[in-house]
Amino acid sequence: MVPDSGSSPVNHAAPTTNSTLRRVPAWRRAARWRRLFLALAVIGQTGIATYYFSRVLPYHGGTFLELGLLVVFTLLFAWISVGFWVALTGFVLRLRGGDRHSLLRRHREADLSGVPLARTAVVMPIYHEPVARTLNGLRASFLSLQRTGQLDSFDFFILSDSRDPQVWLSEREAWYRLCEDLGAAGRLFYRRRPVNLHYKSGNVADFLRRWGRAYRYMIVLDADSLMEGSTLVKMVRLMEREPQVGILQTSPAIINAESLFARVQQFASDVYGPLFATGLAAYQLGEAAYWGHNAILRIEPFMRHCGLKKLRGPGLFGGPISSHDFVEAAFMGRAGHEVWLEPDLTGSYEESPPALAEELIRDRRWAKGNLQHLWVLFTEPRLRFAHRMALFNGVMAYLASPLWFAFLALTTAAAARITLLPIEYFPAESGLFPVWPEWNPVSALALVAVTLLLLFLPKLLAVAERLLSGRAAEHGGAARLVASVLVESLVSALLAPIRMLAHTRHVLEAIFNTTLRWAGQNRSDETQWRDALASEAPGTVLALSWSGFAWWLDPAFFLWTLPVVLPLVLATPTAVLFGRVRPGQWLRERGLLRVSVEERVEGVAKDLDSGPMLLEEAVQGTAFNRAVLDPKVNHVQQSCARRARGGARARRIESLIQRCAARGPEDLTRRELGVLADDASALAQLHAVAWRAAPDSYWGRALEHYVRAHAPADAA
């Protein structure tokens, strides 16, 4: 039953009475007042700023161009204002010891620890992820859970969508080694989906259709997620105590950062993240968003209400939903279940992309996925208002960039108009009185200062919160904390225009359903100069052209462009150097950008670093050759593979075996290799062929190479 907006949620797990159904929970009342305050604060602040901006403009908004500027400015300023008030709220609440409406604060630790656990599946959907790193992370979480003594209530699933047989053979092999290392047979499972439907949400849905009934809860991890066992256990207990909660989302902190880029993200996540997360949670309360990972979901209502149909709109708005999480949270809320963000649930981590290039590759997917939410926002019935706002927030996360770009373009056009064209004293057709256009640089500077204050004050509040709570020592002391904030601010200021341009491109690509690829993607661990130049050069050229035009127009206007132009001109060295490990380590050695989790080095972080090399070994050489040559690996892969029963498939396989035996795997396409790799009989035959092959044949040489690589260390 889906209740009307504003009434109590339906409790699927406990008996209810009419009085329970009618009574509005306290958090809903608090949410209404808080959101009303937020709306008034943002509207009021934006209104004032827009008014002042109109006074800054020469014609005070009296032309179409300036009207466009005002509209764009209003949207952008409102966006910044929301972030400011969320951070300020988070600061106040954290100083007061937390939000009294928080889910975690309803239960004493002693009461929670006695709650029996329910069967929970920990699932990790993966697609062409670095195998060793991914499974080492899962290993760390497994060990941490084992130490709690509660492992029996949990099963782990690796859900692979990988298509490249070299990758999924490595995954299988690493899964086997992990089972051996952890003694996790019958508790750690591996499933590769033969048909990819609907991306990650389809992967998870496939799991639920097969095994959903066996578990009450599902905890979703990303490939770079890490979670403390105590946190996993606490999440299950909280869900048991709060039967109306459909999804409980943690606020993961970034961990394991090495490059300068990643360390800056890690520092920001550690210092500013709690402030923003607390503020966000305070306004969302039981209508929060789901971020797709490091969260626990109640399976029964999720399966009943959160199935995702394909979108039926034009272009971008057609096909499967790629950013599924926010939509699933909205559907859960529509069904009457609560979705909570709980920032005080620590022990939840993820990794940052190591360089800007990786982040932007990820952002291309997310931009398209978030823009699709516009269709959901306007066509899905009976979504709760808070969830519609969350969807809109996600859209703005990427739409803000083209708006900023438009703002710069319109500003340039306005400057060009006032400089190059004759002054128009009657800009409005119906105006009776002349308008003397006037620039007001002092007011403009004041407005910029206020905007910068809104952007940077949250950082200062975060520093203040650390100092007041006595946690500055985690960052090397007050002086190092402040210095780290300056470093982070400088790096962020350098990256902001680069991201703006990239996100603008992503949005245009998504809207026009095209790929404006003017460079290859970085696949190496550190961004190479050639790749960075190819990727960033167009932005640099655009920036130089713009600044040249601005200088020609008016040297004063040129100065205004520098905060955007300089980072774009420096984009290539920025992309390369920030992605390097050495600068990050250099700062760390001097006590800068230190974070609390690095100082403790315990729990999952320690397990991640101390894992045996067995999983590294799994990726040496090509996985297919290992599957053919190594007797143990061959046996494992055979056990997991299919068995063809004859007919056309068996004949095709036989033909592929002949080719592979004679000329090696390079003679086959990726698809053909996959057919062989997934057939037990083919693997057995190729194994026999390889070990009987003449020394000067392909397999003879491959075998020689493999044996030499695995010879004991003392072999001469």
């Binding site: 899964w175 996790a184 047979a185 959903g212 007797p631």
Partner: protein, 84 residues
Amino acid sequence: MTATSSEHALARVLSYLRLCDIPLTREVMLKALGLVQDALLEGGTSSDLLARVMDRLPQRFSLPEPRVPIAQPNLRRSSIRYGP
């Protein structure tokens, strides 16, 4: 000097045993030598010596088979529903 076919055959046997985690003790070495010797005594061409040796290897040595855990538990099927 290029290795003879019997040297290749012995190397194959020993490599296979090593990769199966069978320690190359004195007894194992003697057995491996005996395997190659018997294959040579059978006659046949040097080009199929490797095949004959590898065919007989499972009969001479007890090769351990790693215990592979089940990759997927038993199915508990159900369906996912969609909104209004």
